[in-house]
């Protein structure tokens, strides 16, 4: 009996925490844990180091050390006695730079494009900075003021002395930014409406939404662009037929909307039934239930997919060249084909420059989405 009472034990003082083991802390600990933990990881680490050593120095040499930074024609970038192995031809990009940005937009009017870029950047920052003040007004600015301002600036308004610049003269980054922005701004709300339509209980709405989504998703984006630019004029009288760029814009926006609708539908399906029931039980109407309870949750879940679609859309804008519009990539194509710049490294440099631009834009969107996700996750935990 006494053996049992001997086993009674009551702790009187809490044990102090011990410091972490030395091998797990500091740089050495990190290296050991992440790069050299087991034989397999040691091998992989060494292979990676070898690949980096093999690839990075030649790239730096080509694009930075041996690169040609100035010059006014192909001669600057050709191999010569002074430069036996010429690298990237940045001189080409410098000379053509304003064409890449404005296309054939008249020289004297280019300040209007600059002003548009500024107004757009201001709106994007106002709307996207999570800590920015009065984001409601920011939204009004972005969705109401900015489109009108942009139209007046870019297209022109003779009444206030701005010459009309036909869209056939627009080009380069300007066109890419306009097409991508309109595609993004239109596709999200339209996609949400289509997704809601697809889940609607009204057969007419449902069939229309499903039909639209499946049809647009079932054809390549190039086909949609061709249809928008070739078929649209068949249905509208010629003098009312919209401008070529507008037609392409409609095509891109509709195409992106169909994809967005499917992305949003996935988000809607992820919201538990109980949320619909709780919101209905409180007496919310269908629209309020959607806007206040379901969509905020659905869009949160699906934010990575939405941004993914935006990124895809941004790169798909390069396809507008098939209907004869000079987007950013197309201007580089045109410039590199210029005989006065026919040098072996010009094409590579032009495409790398294009890649850098698209990467910067897409990576920016991706980073922004990450920030928002982390912030949302922090708010809810």
């Amino acid at each position: 009996m006494s053996a049992i009472s001997d086993q009674v034990y009551v702790r009187v003082l809490p044990t102090e925490p011990l410091p972490p083991p030395a091998a797990d802390a500091g740089i050495i600990g990190w290296l050991r844990a992440n790069l050299f933990s087991v034989v397999g990881n040691v091998v992989l680490t060494l292979i990676c180091l070898a690949v980096i050593a093999l690839v990075v120095p030649p790239l730096v040499r080509f694009f930075v050390i041996d690169a040609v930074w100035s010059g006014s024609s192909r001669e600057a970038c050709l191999a010569s006695v002074e430069q036996p192995h010429p690298g990237a031809c940045w001189a080409f990009v410098r000379v053509w730079f304003s064409y890449f940005i404005y296309g054939f937009y008249p020289l004297g009017e280019r300040w209007r494009v600059d002003l548009f870029f500024l107004a757009l950047a201001f709106g994007v920052v106002w709307l996207c900075r999570l800590s920015a003040p009065r984001r409601g007004i920011g939204a009004i600015y972005f969705f109401v003021v900015l489109p009108m301002l942009s139209y007046v600036l870019l297209h022109g308004a003779p009444l206030i002395g701005l010459k009309i610049v036909p869209t056939s003269l627009w080009g380069g980054m300007l066109v890419t930014v306009v097409v991508a922005t309109i595609g993004i701004v239109v596709s999200l709300p339209l996609g949400i409406l289509l997704a809601l339509g697809r889940r609607s209980g009204l057969p007419v709405v449902k069939v229309a939404a499903v039909g639209f989504i499946e049809f647009v998703r079932g054809v390549p984006v190039i086909t949609v662009l061709f249809m928008a630019s070739v078929m649209l004029p068949l249905f509208v009288p010629e003098r009312l037929a919209p401008d070529k760029l507008v037609r392409a814009l409609i095509g891109v926006a509709l195409f992106a909307s169909a994809y967005m609708a499917e992305v949003v539908r996935g988000g809607l399906a992820a919201v538990p039934r109980g949320q619909y029931e709780a919101a209905s039980a409180l007496g919310l109407t269908w629209w309020r239930l959607m806007a206040l309870v379901i969509l905020p949750q659905a869009l949160r879940v699906t934010l990575p997919n939405i941004v993914n679609t935006f990124i895809g859309l941004f790169k798909d804008t390069t396809l507008v060249f098939v209907v004869g519009i000079f987007d950013f990539l197309r201007t580089i194509e045109v410039a590199r084909a210029d005989p006065s710049w026919a040098a072996p490294n010009v094409a590579v440099t032009g495409y790398v420059f294009a890649a850098l631009f698209y990467f910067a834009c897409c990576y920016g969107m991706s980073r922004y989405a990450r920030t928002v996700e982390t912030r949302l996750a922090r708010g809810r935990r």
Binding site: G274, E277, A278, L282, G283, R288, R381
Partner: protein, 258 residues
């Protein structure tokens, strides 16, 4: 809240009818889930519905605010018959609060926003008034200090009390509780039941689907046993537990009381 009639009339069935269910039949496909259910609930009455799972308790409750529809029979809530008319359904839902087994708080809104959502958007109450009202009810369920947290940071018991406060913010005449303590850890059941007991003392009409027999004994005016989609027995709690009339009731009570 409830005015006039209060708790004094609560024990007098037939004074004024809050919910009337007549000849209700419902099928899920071939499955006859509700069979000729008839029930009159007086204003201020507290009813506890129990019975084996799959017996149609929750379904019946969810018909009262038309989260479920039915094929035959009628339900009249506060003198208003529930039809297919969406406007009428909304009117009834504004008057009937519901608390769910899984709480169903809105995870993207703070506790306070959960409570003010419906007053602001359904009752069109100014935000300031709605917040004062919500704080009042959060104090009544004893968690005003959690108002600015998100639901995920609360314990199950606290979440369920928020859900009760959220329903009360609409000043409902009738409260429906669908197994409000079934998803809770044992140590949190009491805090939720205490809240419901306090609510019952205020004289609001309550229909509670629950297996908390202690609660039923303490609070209910009538206890109902539902099985196979039918009401098997309706009785005063004392008789229900001590002298059950129906064989099915005796079998059920034997199952849950050891």
């Amino acid at each position: 809240m409830q005015e006039g009639s209060g708790s004094s009339s609560a024990a007098m069935p037939g004074a004024e009818v809050a919910v009337e269910i007549a000849g209700l039949d419902k099928w899920y496909g071939d499955f006859h889930v509700l069979r000729d259910v008839n029930l009159k609930v007086a204003r201020g009455e507290r009813i506890v519905i129990c019975g084996p799972s799959g017996g149609g308790k929750s379904t019946l409750l969810r018909c009262i605010n038309r989260l479920e529809d039915w094929q035959r029979g009628r339900i009249v809530v506060d003198g208003l018959e529930l039809t297919d008319d969406p406007k009428r359904i909304l009117v009834v839902r504004r008057d009937v609060g519901m608390v769910f087994q899984q709480f169903n708080l809105f995870p993207h809104l703070t506790v306070l926003e959960n409570c003010t959502l419906a007053p602001i958007w359904v009752r069109h109450m100014p935000k300031r008034d709605a917040e004062a009202l919500a704080m009042n009810y959060l104090a009544r369920v004893k968690i005003p200090e959690q108002a600015h947290k998100y639901p995920a940071r609360l314990s199950g018991g606290q979440q369920q009390r928020v859900a009760i406060a959220r329903a009360l913010c609409m000043n409902p005449n009738i409260m429906l509780f669908d197994e409000p303590t079934s998803a809770l850890d044992p140590e949190m059941v009491k805090e939720v039941l205490d809240t419901m007991v306090a609510l019952a003392a205020d004289g609001i009409t309550m229909l509670v689907v629950s297996h908390e027999m202690g609660f039923a004994r303490q609070v209910a005016d009538r206890v109902i046993l539902m099985a196979e989609g039918q009401i098997v027995e309706i009785n005063a709690p004392k008789n229900f537990f001590d002298h059950p009339q129906h064989e099915r009731t005796r079998a059920f009570l034997k199952q849950i009381i050891h």
